[in-house]
């Protein structure tokens, strides 16, 4: 993806070019591009005068930062204890099959990124799927396709 240096510069200036805000800058860049492009890391490191290898250390350390392009929607399949017992792994398998990707990957059309989480705190709704901010409780392998289609049509 092409990185707009003006956009990245605005983010850097917002934090007064202070390297202690490196993580906050990375988060802002990620909000913009839905992931952390290599060129953006390089640009921020150059501007803040920190070695690229150090910026890369930070970028790879936090699991909330992604170095790979991410889909428009993030599918979180809960595999916490309650969801696990009520068939969470089956739901994940169904998503993997329906979207034709593995956990952690993004569909080719850039619509979905599939992830698992270890508890969303809504165990009464197990097995739970959360797409972006929207929760889908008591899912079954049969309802997975319906959920996917909701997003397929709106875009």
């Amino acid at each position: 993806m092409e990185v707009d240096t003006a956009v990245v510069n605005t983010i850097i200036d917002k934090y007064g070019k202070d390297k202690s805000y490196l993580l906050a800058m990375f988060q802002d860049v990620q909000r913009q591009y839905r992931y952390l492009p290599k060129d953006a890391i390089q640009h921020i490191c150059d501007k803040l005068n920190i070695p690229f290898s150090k910026g890369y250390e930070v970028a790879t350390f936090y699991s909330s930062l992604s170095l790979k392009p991410r889909g428009k929607h993030t599918v979180h399949v809960c595999l916490g204890t309650a969801c696990h017992l009520r068939g969470g792994p089956n739901i994940l398998n169904t998503f993997e099959r329906e979207l034709n990707i593995k956990r952690g990957d993004t569909t080719e059309n850039g619509l979905f990124t599939l992830e698992s989480v270890n508890c969303l705190g809504a165990c009464a709704l197990a097995p739970l799927v959360r797409i972006d901010e929207q929760d889908y409780g008591k899912t079954t392998p049969g309802s997975v396709k319906k959920i996917i289609n909701e997003y397929g049509e709106s875009t």
């Binding site: 070695p51 690229f52 290898s53 910026g55 890369y56 250390e57 350390f61």
Partner: protein, 236 residues
């Protein structure tokens, strides 16, 4: 002055020294992998564990980080120390089954086989951080860093790609205690960290001796003309 005992022997030390400093000076053998003369302590390899007794309280601590204190009693070979060291070696052996250095140390402490399932994706790297530190502090290139965390943590150049900052000096290879980092010089070309370096030929003896990029780096940093640096150390 600080006065304390190592294995029953009274020793004197300066304030601020570590147990490891003093123990080595006094001739006690404590194994280390992540400690280095030029870079000091890091507390990563956990091999230098010793037992410290103060009054009736005993603790097993990393001697490379523990500052000396008046009146403590240090034991470098007590049963607890040997047990901890053995466990550490078992873990290191499970991580790097092919490292001859770790095999040797393990054998010395009576560890023939690790209880844990061996890794096959870590090479000989024990994450001691020496290469990263020497690249930053001794060389000043800062081409290397750790990526990821937990079981996926590893030493790498950014994205594992040839790094703009790497000058191919090979300091990381020289300092690596287990021989993990691979470097090859062949036909005037050096390969290291997936990057190709053209080696410079000495104009006097016509031998390849250092990567051109390294000499340019030194010239830039020190102000010494490149022509002078092209002459190899043997012909100077």
């Amino acid at each position: 002055m600080v006065e304390f005992a190592i294995n029953g022997k009274k020793v004197l030390a300066e304030k601020g020294e570590t147990i490891l400093d003093v123990a080595r000076r006094e001739g006690f053998d404590i194994p280390t992998l992540c400690w280095h003369d030029a870079l000091g302590s890091d507390g990563r390899c956990r091999l230098c564990m010793v037992e410290v007794q103060r009054g009736s309280r005993k603790r097993v601590v990393t001697s490379c980080l523990y500052p000396v204190e008046n009146g403590i009693e240090v034991f470098t070979e007590s049963p607890d120390v040997l047990l901890v060291r053995k466990t550490v070696l078992e873990l290191l052996l499970a991580r790097c089954p092919n490292s001859d250095v770790i095999q040797y140390l393990a054998k010395e402490y009576g560890v023939s086989k690790a209880r844990y399932a061996p890794d096959n994706d870590k090479g000989k790297c024990i994450l001691c951080n020496l290469c990263v530190k020497t690249c930053e502090l001794n060389v000043g290139a800062t081409a290397l860093g750790m990526s990821g965390k937990g079981p996926l943590k590893k030493v790498t150049t950014p994205y594992g790609e040839p790094s703009h900052d790497c000058i191919g000096c090979g300091a990381c290879v020289a300092i690596c205690p287990t021989g993990h980092i691979y470097m090859e010089d062949r036909n005037g070309v050096r390969m290291i960290w997936n990057k190709r370096f053209d080696l410079a030929r000495c104009p006097k003896c016509n031998r390849y001796h250092a990567p051109v990029e390294q000499l340019e780096f030194i010239a830039r940093k020190s102000g010494t003309p490149l022509e002078e640096l092209l002459i190899c150390p043997d012909c100077k």
